[in-house]
């Protein structure tokens, strides 16, 4: 019989007591040492950062504070959704920039979602040419940097439009506005006296629709009877306001632009910078959304379709009641991420002079006031807030939609 030497050693070891281990192999000591060290380094880092900044600022005889936000900005911006003039404060500049960011982000998100869903579904089409075209659409768009797309649209494609003095749209006499290198000068809607009634009706319609649909659902659960919810809702949201709009005597007119010395005047100008940025942002993002949608639909097992067909559901309800609810669960989280990306990417507008947050606040205002630290802090905090709000929403949605496994 051979002696199990290892065993003997192990026995020896046990008698001697536990072997000394290196201190960093003791998990408790290690973790507290690491954490204390980290806190120390962090505090020292933050402290030296602040003291360096303070020293540098005082060496340049600058102070730190947000009082400058009340000072008049002195410059003008090309697009503003709120009252703005050169006498407005830097705080107003911030608001103008933020609103312009939100404007391009929200319209971009709507467009990108519409295009993205269509392309994503087209990718899965049995129609060879449609699916191929959708494939190349996605591959062409997402493999070229967004900034290059913005340049291509702004300095390339838009430049192919006619000059301001001979814009497109003259044949219609400006009924649809004028399109030229100076942008789209659209007819400006002017609200009449009684327009608020129509607006009120829309609000009423929306609220009523919610009530009707929840009532209809309850009734169906109870009695199994279906209610033509869709038609009622359409009637409430579109029919009622439309009727009221006509009854009150069409209280909406348009102010049409006219061709002046420097191109179209009056009306509602849509900046070419806005058009270029919006186009680039939405088609670029739509390529990513298309891929998300495709993956989401593919993730649903084919058996789901077959099973619902076997249950006697027609293709329409199959899609509505079985496939889409499940696919959405996969699609929504990455989709929200894309929305957030689009919002952050709108900051690239700084390259083409669209007056959004980074461009006029972190750009022009920073320069005219010389308050780098404060302005960059505010800008970053704004984007962080947007992104935290989005992820909070996403977590809420995920929890709501999560499969409850029994």
């Amino acid at each position: 019989m051979t002696v199990d030497t290892d065993g003997v050693n192990a026995v020896d070891q046990m008698e001697k007591g536990p072997q000394k281990t290196a201190f960093f192999n003791n998990p408790k000591i290690r973790s507290s040492v690491i954490q204390v060290l980290l806190i120390g380094i962090l505090i020292y880092g933050v402290w030296s950062l602040i003291s360096n900044t303070a020293a540098n600022l005082s060496a340049q005889s600058k102070s730190f504070g947000f009082g400058f936000l009340d000072n008049a900005s002195g410059f003008d911006v090309s697009q503003s959704l709120i009252e703005y003039s050169r006498a407005s404060s830097f705080w107003t500049v911030y608001q103008v920039g933020l609103l312009n960011t939100l404007l391009v982000a929200i319209t971009g998100i709507i467009l990108a979602t519409l295009v993205g869903f269509s392309i994503g579904i087209a990718r899965l089409s049995s129609n060879w040419i449609v699916s191929r075209a959708a494939y190349w659409y996605v591959e062409a768009l997402r493999n070229i940097p967004l900034l290059l797309w913005i340049f291509i649209f702004y300095f390339g494609v838009l430049r192919l439009l006619p000059s301001k003095r001979e814009p497109l749209g003259t044949s219609l006499d400006g009924a649809l506005g004028y399109l030229s290198i100076g942008g789209w000068i659209a007819p400006k809607p002017v609200a009449g006296d009684m327009l608020w009634l129509t607006g009120l009706a829309v609000l009423f319609g929306i609220v009523a629709s919610f009530i009707v649909s929840s009532w209809a659902k309850k009734r169906q659960m109870r009695t199994g009877q279906q209610f033509p919810t869709l038609y009622v809702i359409l009637g409430l949201i579109i029919g009622l306001p439309a009727a009221l709009f006509i009854v009150t005597g069409l209280p909406l007119s348009f102010e049409y632009p006219e061709i002046g010395r420097f191109g179209a005047r009056g009306g509602m100008p849509v900046l070419p910078e806005f058009i270029a940025l919006l186009t680039a942002l939405s088609i670029y993002t739509s390529a990513f959304i298309a891929e998300i949608v495709r993956a989401g639909i593919l993730a649903i097992n084919k058996g789901q379709t077959e099973a619902s067909h076997a249950l006697g559901l027609r293709p329409g309800p199959t899609l509505n009641l079985v496939i889409i609810p499940q696919a959405l669960r996969v699609i929504i989280p990455p989709l929200t991420n894309q929305f957030l990306n689009l919002t952050k990417n709108s900051s690239l507008a700084v390259a083409i002079a669209y007056p959004e947050l980074v461009s006029i606040f972190a750009g022009t205002a920073l320069n005219q006031s010389g308050r780098e630290v404060e302005i960059i802090m505010i800008t970053m905090a704004t984007y962080l807030t947007l992104s935290l709000l989005t992820s909070t929403f996403m977590n809420w949605y995920n929890n709501r939609m999560a499969l409850i496994e029994r």
């Binding site: 090309s78 301001k164 390259a351 002079a353």
Partner: protein
């Protein structure tokens, strides 16, 4: 980068304060052996690199003059191209030693940004450029036009003021870079390009067809352009101020880069003081006594520099105008070296 990169990397990573105590700019410049000069990103006549990266221009000559004064060698300058937006931060952070980038001297900049203007090397004013085919002869006819300009400049503010005061409608499109302004104007996005008049001539050269554009007669602002240094270093400030003044004084005294060696033998006490034959002006500045001689010898006097880079013989073709010496009807006036 060579000198400090590594210590800087460690310094940043571990936040160790004070890698080298805040030295006076002159000592710093002497120890690294060159002057870091902030210039534009390319403005013909003022600061523009050629295809092999050598910078030249009226603004560049100020930096070269300081290098000649400090080192006796006008070539000991390194250039940092800066956008209008970055320029002051670059200076106050110490990235550059002098900012010589067609920068307007204003009260705000002088008092609130921790900067000092060391003089004026070009008296400018803001103007407008339009296409000839518009048939506009005065800036007052521009109501309703789109105006392209560069962001972060006094130009942006002046244009706003001008159009508001004259109760004209306008649309201001402000770009980050001059090249973008030119591209936008060239394509017809804007009817008007506004900038300092000198720049308009310079930018016009970048247009597809420079001949179909015209600079309007109105000058709507005062734009004294000059070199800038950090506040709180009087010695360096003096060196820059007097390096430039020496160029103007040299022109006034008729000293040029051609005749400077002969002029050393001149009997004129003013010239003697300028060229360091008499007096110890270099000592007071902390630089060699031949400082002004070196400037004139290697860079030339102000007139030479002007003619070479922006004058009537160049493609810019700017007349001396208000930038002529005070004795010739202009406002270029340097304090005497005495």
């Amino acid at each position: 980068m060579k000198a400090k990169l590594l210590s800087a990397a460690f310094g940043a990573a571990l936040s160790v304060t004070a890698v080298n105590a805040s030295a006076a700019t002159l000592d710093d410049v002497k120890s690294k052996g060159f002057i870091q000069c902030g210039v534009s990103q390319g403005l013909p006549g003022f600061s523009q690199p050629d295809s092999s990266g050598n910078w030249s221009g009226l603004d560049v000559d100020v930096c070269r003059a300081v290098a000649a004064a400090v080192f006796g060698d006008a070539g000991k300058v390194k250039y940092t191209p800066l956008s209008a937006k970055e320029r002051f931060t670059a200076l106050s952070s110490g990235e550059i030693d002098i900012l010589s980038r067609n920068t307007t001297w204003t009260a705000t900049r002088d008092t609130q940004l921790g900067l000092n203007f060391a003089g004026v090397n070009y008296y400018d004013g803001q103007g407008f450029m339009v296409r000839k085919e518009l048939g506009v002869s005065s800036a007052l006819e521009l109501s309703g036009a789109s105006v392209c300009t560069q962001t972060g400049t006094t130009t942006e503010i002046n244009a706003t003021d001008y159009f508001t005061v004259n109760k004209m409608e306008y649309e201001l499109v402000a770009f980050e870079k001059n090249d973008e302004v030119v591209a936008a104007y060239d394509s017809g996005r804007c009817e008007v390009l506004t900038s300092d008049a000198s720049q308009l001539y310079s930018l016009r050269l970048k247009l597809t067809d420079p001949n179909v554009h015209v600079v309007l007669p109105e000058i709507i602002s005062k734009e004294p352009l000059g070199p800038v240094v950090r506040q709180g270093d009087d010695q360096w400030f003096n060196i820059v101020r007097w390096s430039f003044s020496a160029m103007v004084n040299a022109e006034e005294l008729g000293v040029t880069s051609e005749n400077v060696d002969e002029m050393k033998k001149s009997e004129n006490p003013g010239i003697k003081r300028l060229l360091g034959v008499e007096g110890n002006f270099g000592e007071g500045l902390g630089i060699p006594n031949e400082w002004a001689y070196n400037i004139v010898k290697h860079v030339g006097n102000y007139g030479e520099s002007f003619d070479k880079h922006v004058g009537p013989e160049t493609s810019l073709g700017i007349a001396r105008g208000v930038n002529a010496l005070w004795s010739k009807g202009g406002v270029m006036y340097a304090p005497p070296i005495r």
